[in-house]
């Protein structure tokens, strides 16, 4: 009983500490939310007014009801993000399995190249890709955003590391039972790595959803703009409407929340161990 009680108290204390730390994490978000309900000329008042003095819905109204087709940007973002994330998870999982569980010639060298090219600044990929995409005829199409996102070294590297944590004995015993690589991949490795897939999906969803520079360089038509690029329509000659941009940012966070909350549920201890037991 004493042990249980001590545990409970520890848990409560830790929860309180974590909640306090998380307040620091929440600050920018709260600022964003608060700014989205303020008129532009009060956003930068100092000291910070966390609760808007003149509360207004005008920014949200502007985002959804002006000439700017925000819902169009939203759909575009959804399309680009879903396709590139799905594609990435699929191609990376297959490649990661090969890197982690199949021995073949050249594996290490290819992996080393994959790994090191991650370090090439993403911004400097934009220019050569722009030249290539013009040659491929996919400049100013959504494919220019989707395709590079579908084949990433990041996803492959991440999944490889998680697949490597899965004991080889599991795969070996399946092999003795006559299972091929694809069966081992789909029946053993993938189910055991669900938390890793969840993490990858969260990261890539956020990355693709918030990407500003790639659409800026590859997309010219307003009709094809994703949300971050589309936010430029709330700018005029010399400046931006911070209120509208914050309101749009708040709206654009909702799908991220949904994805996060859906997939973070997969971080439940026991998936891996239950796999081991069976």
């Amino acid at each position: 009983m004493g042990y249980q009680k001590k545990r409970l108290i520890t848990k409560i204390v830790l929860t309180v500490i974590m909640a306090v730390i998380s307040i620091i994490m929440l600050l920018p978000f709260v600022w964003m939310l608060s700014a989205s309900f303020k008129p532009d000329n009060q956003i930068f008042n100092f000291p910070i007014e966390w609760i808007p003095k003149d509360f207004t819905w005008a920014n949200y109204d502007r985002v959804w009801n002006s000439d700017v087709p925000f819902s169009r940007f939203f759909t575009n973002s959804l399309k680009v993000t879903l396709l590139s994330v799905t594609g990435e998870v699929l191609t990376s999982a297959l490649a990661a399995y090969a890197f982690a569980k199949i021995k073949f010639k050249g594996r290490e060298v290819i992996f080393l190249i994959y790994l090191s090219t991650l370090a090439f600044p993403a911004q400097m990929m934009l220019i050569p890709r722009y030249v290539l995409f013009k040659a491929f005829g996919i400049y100013n199409t959504h494919l220019a955003l989707i395709l590079p996102g579908m084949f990433t070294a990041f996803g492959t590297f991440m999944l490889r590391q998680f697949f490597m944590s899965i004991p080889d004995e599991l795969c070996e015993s399946a092999k003795i039972d006559g299972a091929g690589h694809f069966t081992i991949f789909s029946k053993i490795v993938v189910p055991l790595a669900i938390p890793a897939f969840s993490a990858l999906i969260i990261f890539q969803f956020v990355g693709s959803w918030n990407d500003y520079e790639a659409p800026l360089v590859y997309i010219r038509s307003k009709e094809l703009a994703t949300i971050p690029l589309g936010l430029n329509f709330f700018r005029d000659e010399n400046s931006a409407s911070y209120g509208a941009i914050m309101a749009a940012s708040v709206c654009s966070l909702l799908p991220i929340f949904a994805v996060f909350l859906a997939f973070q549920k997969q971080f439940v201890a026991g998936i891996a161990t239950s796999g081991l037991k069976e």
Binding site: N41, V190, R220, D236, E237
Partner: protein, 484 residues
């Protein structure tokens, strides 16, 4: 086990969904791709059409087809409606202008649009350096031919200050579509409350300093400053050299033959020392740390700070009055904003700085004569519809006082809280303009980098005025030498 099967099923289903979607995406891309291919093909077409330009234009005229013209800028689309509508009415049956909004005015945004092979007839830019680079790289057409055809000279239309900075090796590659003149905005209410007289044209920098000190009061977060100006922001207006610019004229940083910088000139020391004292000694202008943190470099925020009483004076271009606009939030009751010309050292004739944004015709343009019509229309004939709605002065020189006053009305009328009469009177005064546009390529990147690096140190209190200017001279000269 069941759970695993379920997950596998989900995975497979999503895979199939993805595959189908990609399939569809591919088709869609095909249709878009083909139009893209057409566009990229237009480069060759453009090359070919340069020869057959005349015949092309004739064909156009004889077939009676309306020719499409694409006008590229980053102005918000609703501000472009009047210009586009007026042009299409005036040229009905001949040309049809379409506005294409750029995401922003950044170098890369404009370069990728120019390089994309899209048919562009008029392209705008904010940076004089970018203009120079594009001109040097053959991206733009020389415009002198069109001025010749019209029987104009650049100088008589645009004025000599513009001619001086826009002349690139004897030709002109852009027309300024706006001219942003630096003024001092002030909050009349704050002056009234302090029992201070309003600043008047012909005031001196000493007057400015005394006024700023007198208007400064309070402590900490509630401190009210005498003035706010952008003296050392990396990409900003860099007013630390304002006095040197007033005294030394255009291309301030360079010596007469552009072989070296002149940061060792006493005017630079006078200028930097003056603003250093305001910021670091008298502490009567908004310090750098607050300036960056509170986003005062954004013009609506700058104007809001003025009418919300955070400071009494604000050095900014004329278009600053655009942000006296209820769309940025309610303007406090009794707001009364005045404007005055820049102070000078001796209180004599007014000299003030200005800078422009420009419009050009890409070399790949299919029909340069048509593009010229659009360019001329937006920058010269109907600047009231292009620069006007943005509260900017046109790039050209006014031919009469009536023209000038009519334009100033467009700029100042209907701005809540603005003393329009004062603004009209002040803008009617004589002033000499010094352009800040730097179309010299040698060393410019290095000089700007050196200015940013040294000035942020000076205004953080980590470097002396003399040391900073010595560094600027050395680093600037090295940059020029490296580019020669």
């Amino acid at each position: 086990m069941k759970k695993r099967q379920k997950m596998l099923a989900v995975l497979l289903a999503s895979t199939m969904l993805a595959a189908t979607l990609v399939g569809c995406g591919g088709q869609e891309a095909d249709s878009q791709g083909s139009s893209g291919a057409q566009e990229s093909g237009s480069e060759q077409e453009a090359a070919a059409s340069n020869e057959s330009e005349e015949t092309g234009a004739q064909e156009q005229a004889s077939s009676g087809e309306v020719q499409q013209l694409n006008f590229y800028a980053w102005t918000s689309p609703e501000n472009m409606v009047p210009l586009v509508e007026a042009f299409n009415e005036d040229y009905a049956g001949t040309y049809e202008m379409t506005y294409q909004k750029l995401a922003d005015a950044a170098t890369m945004t404009i370069n990728t649009a120019l390089g994309s092979g899209e048919p562009i007839d008029v392209m705008t830019q904010a940076s004089a350096m970018d203009l120079r680079v594009r001109a040097d790289d053959g991206v733009y057409l020389g415009l002198k031919q069109f001025f010749d055809k019209e029987g104009w000279t650049y100088e008589e239309i645009m004025g000599s200050a513009m001619e001086e900075t826009m002349n690139i090796e004897g030709d002109y590659y852009a027309i300024p579509y706006c001219n942003n003149i630096n003024m001092v905005w002030f909050n009349k209410k704050m002056f009234d409350e302090a029992g201070m007289e309003y600043p008047q044209a012909g005031w001196t920098w000493d007057d400015f300093r005394e006024t700023a000190i007198a208007m400064t009061h309070g402590e900490g977060g509630d401190k009210v400053y005498g003035a706010m100006l952008d003296y050392a922001d990396g990409d900003g207006d860099n007013y630390w050299d304002l006095i040197a610019r007033q005294k030394l004229g255009a291309f301030t940083y360079y010596n007469d033959d552009f072989t070296a910088t002149q940061f060792d000139a006493p005017e630079f020391k006078e200028s930097l020392e003056y603003f250093y004292n305001l910021a670091m000694v008298d502490k009567c202008i908004v310090p750098l740390e607050e300036y960056t943190a509170l986003q005062y470099h954004k013009d609506p925020t700058g104007m809001a700070g003025l009418y919300n009483g955070k400071y009494a004076m604000w050095i900014a271009p004329v278009y600053g009055c655009l942000y006296l606009n209820e769309s940025y939030g309610e303007i406090p009751e009794g707001t009364d904003i005045g404007v005055v010309d820049m102070p000078t050292t001796d209180g004599g004739a007014t000299v003030t700085t200005c800078y422009t944004s420009t419009a050009s015709i890409p070399a790949t343009c299919k029909d340069p004569d048509a593009a010229w019509e659009a360019l001329k229309y937006a920058c010269i004939e109907r600047a009231d519809l292009f620069a006007g709605p943005k509260a900017m002065h046109p790039g050209y020189a006014f031919q009469s006082d009536e023209d000038r006053d009519a334009f100033n009305h467009i700029i100042f009328d209907g701005k809540p809280g603005l003393d329009v009469d004062m603004a009209m009177e002040v803008m009617a005064l004589d002033r000499t303009l010094v352009s800040k546009d730097n179309t010299v390529r040698q060393g410019q990147v290095g000089i700007n980098e050196a200015i940013k690096n040294n000035m942020t140190l000076v205004f953080s209190g980590e470097m002396s005025v003399d040391e900073a200017l010595a560094n600027l001279k050395e680093q600037g000269d090295a940059a020029i030498a490296a580019d020669q």
